[in-house]
Symmetry: C2
């Protein structure tokens, strides 16, 4: 059993964000102790992990709430949830692909700057000169 602070540390999500997510209705099943303090169970952490995953893949909070609702509705929504996961995978893969391209660009730029610095050349590609 974990307090919100412990969850924040363990899952690398800020307390602020966890409270915000709570307000979004992401944790309707998280229990409270007699002082109204949230008590996260081990399996609640699994759910936090899923939320983190969906967010990282670009899913907006409304859709996460919807996914949760489907989960809570039970087995009749399995197919729909499966589709959401597949869709999320697609988004993640395309993000990956984009990052790969950006990395190529950064590699090129890095090399470019390195050459300029090493050989004491002029920066011929530079927004000023480039726009002329």
């Amino acid at each position: 059993m974990y307090t919100i602070k412990e969850v924040a540390k363990k899952m690398e999500v800020s307390e602020h964000t966890l409270r915000f997510w709570a307000k979004c209705g992401f944790f309707p099943f998280v229990e409270r102790d007699k002082n109204n303090v949230r008590v996260f169970s081990e399996s609640d952490l699994d759910w936090v992990k899923i939320v983190k995953c969906l967010r990282a893949c670009g899913t907006d909070n409304k859709s996460i709430k919807k996914y949760l609702t489907l989960c809570l509705e039970g087995d009749s929504t399995l197919k729909e949830r499966f589709d959401i996961i597949k869709e999320t995978k697609k988004k993640a893969l395309s993000k990956m692909e984009e990052l790969k391209q950006q990395l190529e660009m950064l590699d090129y730029k890095e090399q470019f700057y390195m050459d300029l610095i090493k050989n004491n050349k002029k920066d011929i590609w530079n927004p000023i000169s480039a726009s002329k």
Copy 2:
């Protein structure tokens, strides 16, 4: 030479965003025609590409503006710009790593749902049951 609309289409950035970026001071060198319409040159597109890249890697707009300022200052800032690119690469790589992990998780989930659907099993992992 391109209008903002053409740039938007070519670079896959919305016109709104381009105007917003313009307001952020990202395009001080983009020329205007006699009707005050922005005219992007081929090399301005290269700069848009760099902005896109930096944004995709998580650089905030203030830092992008700063990078631009360094570019405009000329060769004396080469080393500093080189460091920014290296830092950006680091961020991109760690984003990549995170995405890879999220993908693993999604693969697992996908398989999991597939099994449940195929074998008509009950969803034993479900926020409800999981939180009990």
